[in-house]
């Protein structure tokens, strides 16, 4: 079939395919800036957007946090290990940032709004610091936000005493001052790494 096509064309095509394949993994990296410690996911996910209620019962959306660097994390207050550990690490990162952390907001979105009432959320996030905001919403707005950032959560079967666990993502999505998604972190990142990357995002203008 390719008897008529010139072998040179075939060779050029093959080299092109190989080059295209090997360069895809590199796109998104600016040529001169050192890489972030966290995964750079600029442009891979949509702009921050949601409609939820904060720990004071106020209806809030993403525009209320424009101008700040925003961290988005899904969890719940009955969480035995992952959430308190992650939030405590974020508290440490805030301490490292010092005064600059006043321009950072950590949005802790409950995947268990049934038990996480506004009052419960208020005392829980208050424990971690000024920058922490507890957000909750009905099933529809919660699943819309989870779908937007492609995260999953599900309730485990209840224990005999009626308590239950909720399995959820470990991702920390980080948005710049304009609400664009920039980084994704997880339980593998240290407070130092997070603070270092946040400092860089804070130095950008809104």
């Amino acid at each position: 079939m390719l008897a008529h096509a010139q072998p040179v064309h075939l060779l050029v095509f093959l080299i092109g395919v190989l080059l295209a394949g090997s360069s895809v993994g590199l796109t998104g990296c600016a040529p001169h800036e050192p890489p972030y410690a966290l995964h750079d996911i600029s442009g891979l996910m949509p702009q921050l957007a949601f409609n939820l209620t904060d720990q004071d019962g106020r209806v809030v959306n993403a525009r209320d946090y424009r101008g700040d660097v925003v961290l988005l994390y899904f969890g719940y207050t009955h969480c035995p290990d992952a959430c308190p550990t992650t939030l405590a690490e974020l508290t440490q990162a805030m301490r490292r940032l010092g005064a600059a952390s006043s321009s950072v907001r950590v949005l802790f979105v409950s995947v268990d709004p049934q038990r996480d009432t506004a009052a419960v959320m208020k005392s829980y996030v208050g424990f971690f610091g000024q920058q922490f905001v507890g957000l909750r919403g009905d099933d529809a707005s919660l699943s819309a936000l989870a779908k937007r950032y492609r995260v999953a959560y599900h309730r485990e079967p209840p224990e005999p005493d009626g308590s239950y666990a909720v399995d959820h993502s470990s991702a920390i999505f980080i948005f710049d001052r304009t609400g664009r998604v920039r980084l994704i972190g997880g339980s593998g990142n240290t407070p130092e790494q997070i603070a270092k990357d946040l400092r860089r995002l804070l130095s950008e203008s809104a």
């Binding site: 079939m1 096509a5 395919v17 996911i41 996910m45 995260v151 993502s169 994704i184 997880g186």
Partner: protein, 287 residues
């Protein structure tokens, strides 16, 4: 199951007009063609229509039901999704040989117009012939599996909705191209015809390379694809068990498809030689 939970499973997780329209249009054209051929009494056997709709239905179910949610949040379900998109569904579609039926389903006026505009696109034909070169087709078939399973690329494909769509489309389209090249009788392949011996060699190499990557994933001692832990799994499952199941699906059933492919090619070969032997014998007598 309640009506609500059935609806949640059957309705798309992320509705795609492109997938919906492509599948619906393909089904409608096929049905129209089948009706025309039945009226003329020249319709092919019912099993071909069954294979066609099973293949098309499987493609649709993989992409436009709640299954897609599970595939986004569980590695082994994702591998199952690609096994169907890249192997099972395309094999069924190719075995159904729907081109002749579908041609009858296109209105005559549009048919000549289509043929006319296709003949004015010699470059398209050349590109198709190029990607259907047996070596390139095999490299593309196996290369896509390796490409989307490169951990850093897999990570972004599962986060970015656009890359995710490109990934699934590339698997489905390449599956159809590859299995058409492997399983269609040579006489029906026109300029792209590939010999049966070549096909068997390609299928064996493809199987070997899929066994390699599948075994590598299944036997790997640490997590290769952390995106499922970062974004959360559809249900609680040990990450390494998820990875092992996904690796096994890439390894055994995917390689078995090559085995089935070889059997089909052998059958084509036997049928053609059975047909050509009496003809040659007759020629011998005439001489």
């Amino acid at each position: 199951m309640t009506a609500l939970s059935i609806a949640t499973f059957v309705l798309p997780w992320e509705f795609s007009p492109t997938v919906f329209l492509t599948c619906a249009l393909t089904a409608l054209v096929y049905l129209a063609g089948q009706r025309a051929l039945v009226r003329r009494g020249t319709a092919p056997g019912i099993w071909r229509a069954l294979a066609f709709f099973l293949g098309l239905g499987l493609m649709y179910a993989m992409l436009q039901t709640h299954f897609d949610y599970l595939a986004q949040h569980m590695f082994w379900i994702h591998r199952l999704q690609h096994l169907v998109l890249h192997h099972v569904a395309p094999i069924l579609l190719v075995l159904a040989a729907p081109a002749a039926v579908m041609r009858e389903g296109i209105p005559i006026g549009l048919r000549t117009q289509l043929r006319g505009s296709l003949s004015r696109l010699p470059r398209l034909k050349r590109v198709l012939l190029l990607v259907q070169h047996p070596i390139l087709a095999a490299a593309l078939f196996v290369g896509l599996i390796y490409f989307w399973l490169t951990p850093s690329i897999h990570f972004t494909a599962m986060l970015d909705a656009n890359r995710y769509r490109v990934m699934n489309w590339s698997m489905a389209l390449d599956g159809i191209l590859f299995w058409w090249l492997m399983l269609t009788p040579r006489a029906a392949q026109g300029a792209a015809a590939v010999g049966y011996g070549t096909r068997i060699v390609i299928l064996c190499i493809a199987a070997l390379l899929q066994i390699l990557i599948g075994a590598y994933i299944a036997l790997h001692k640490s997590e290769l694809f952390d995106v499922y832990a970062i974004c959360g799994r559809a249900w609680t499952l040990d990450p390494l068990l998820d990875q092992q199941l996904g690796g096994l699906l890439t390894w055994i059933p995917a390689a078995m498809m090559s085995g089935i492919g070889v059997l089909i090619v052998l059958r084509l070969l036997l049928r053609e030689s059975a047909r050509s032997v009496p003809a040659a014998a007759l020629r011998g007598v005439a001489r």
